[in-house]
Symmetry: C2
Subunit: 325 residues, 2 copies
Amino acid sequence: MMTEPLTVQQMAQRLKAADDILILCHKNPDGDTIGCAGALYHALTAMGRSAAVLCSDPIPPMYAYTRMQLFTGQFAPRLVAAVDVASIQLFGENNRMPEFSHHVNLCIDHHTGNTGYADFTLLDSTAAAAAELLYEVLMEMEAPITPQVADCLYTGLSTDTGCFRFSNTTARTHQVAAKLIEAGARVQELNTLLFDTKSRPRMEAERIARNHLEYHLEGRCALIYLTRDEIASSGVDQADLEELTSLPVSIQDVLVGVTLRQQPGGSYRVSIRTAKGVDACSIARRLGGGGHARAAGCELLGNLENAKSAVLAEVEAELDAQEKE
Amino acid sequence: MMTEPLTVQQMAQRLKAADDILILCHKNPDGDTIGCAGALYHALTAMGRSAAVLCSDPIPPMYAYTRMQLFTGQFAPRLVAAVDVASIQLFGENNRMPEFSHHVNLCIDHHTGNTGYADFTLLDSTAAAAAELLYEVLMEMEAPITPQVADCLYTGLSTDTGCFRFSNTTARTHQVAAKLIEAGARVQELNTLLFDTKSRPRMEAERIARNHLEYHLEGRCALIYLTRDEIASSGVDQADLEELTSLPVSIQDVLVGVTLRQQPGGSYRVSIRTAKGVDACSIARRLGGGGHARAAGCELLGNLENAKSAVLAEVEAELDAQEKE
């Protein structure tokens, strides 16, 4: 399967020429795929086009302000466009997704690993978020950047960069943020909602996890865990626990942060986060998992003590190997 | 006491014409006053001037990367310039500060309440950080924005805006951030240090406070507290606890977040944080304190239960009054 790469100008032309456009998000939708879908939906409808958004999973209620129309068969799609989706597998299988995800016309994405499943792809892996790239497409389309469009694009930009904290943040990211604020993006309201609002179940799960904090290997490794009973009793959503995995490595002098979450079946899902210079992926791989240099994971069977020992042994091996370098 | 207001151009001219420049920070120095002092110090020395920085309190070790020269009498100051200091009281009394703070030549600041204590003042209260304003002064001076200067200015910008999250963040803030990244500011390293690193004592104090989390008034108010014994046993610095005060109000559906910290003398320091539309200052004022619309405080004598009841009664009164509006 080969895709034809497009420039920003070419993508803008194809979108401008289209009507009855179905916009596809990836499953477990995050702020970038939702923000892009919302921005593209509002820009296209403001330009008189008919458009709607399809996602295999429900859009989390916190993103209700993106106010996009979900696809319910209100038109027969004549163009299918995916935003922030790196591969066909990421579309998911729910709703009517499989009907449309097997033939995608256009794709706008920033993931290096994009598999080229669409007929035409605009890919820029230097963009911090797909929303950063979509902003350029909308400018080229001469689409109106209304406050609603600006809110949506800002959502993608800020969520994919941890609010301009992560290493993917570039001068261009800030330049686009400046333009979106000028266009009316509501910085404080959105950031309060996106970064400073935690559910009560999430607070309870974090309280329990913090009570389980352990330091190992002379303080170079910090570990937290949650059993399936604790997760169930707190009432927290699994998705709401993702962010917890960054907690142990945020402690001063900690080089490796480990988070163990027991799954409904009993196994432990292990998340490994490392300080700069320590290879998380190498630790995870030796336990049958994988990932990135500073964020990796694996799944371990057996009880909590066995899972802990197995991880700590590999963390120690990696830290020792690194010291010898 | 009257100050003469300067434009960015006039401030740049006065700094460019000076030598043997003493730069003053405010007491309990934060990222903005330190970042500005560092940036001005490095810019001036790169331009061949002699300069040094004076602060009444020690510069926290986490800011060591600003690498500025502290004043130890190495020259007789011929110009005294204050950065991010709103009033004479904020200079503090330690080190040799009182020798110099009684006659300040230049002041660069962004606080609306600047008292005009300096001979000449560049004040712009629309700047999110004094660093945002100093960037313009340095550009006008044609000072070299080296990576070191960029790191310092970025520090002021990101700390005073909660990493571009707070309502003071404008398009201009992002435009300056973009320029600083182009000039070599190390986004990820600095943000990890400034926002994602917590000391072990801070983690322990937060663990205790979270175990004390209480919901009141049908979940509209959340409250945490720390006794002086708990603060002492955790080993945390008082300054390190400031950020905790934003925790209770970050919980979904909470309108008022209250944090009580017992002081060494036994009284309780009360921090009140509110959601948009609820007046924190009005609650604090009725308890003998004061502050801003969404962040205020007071001090209460008596035991914990009495302090809690007193605060909760006023929180309830304010929420009831607000509902009637």
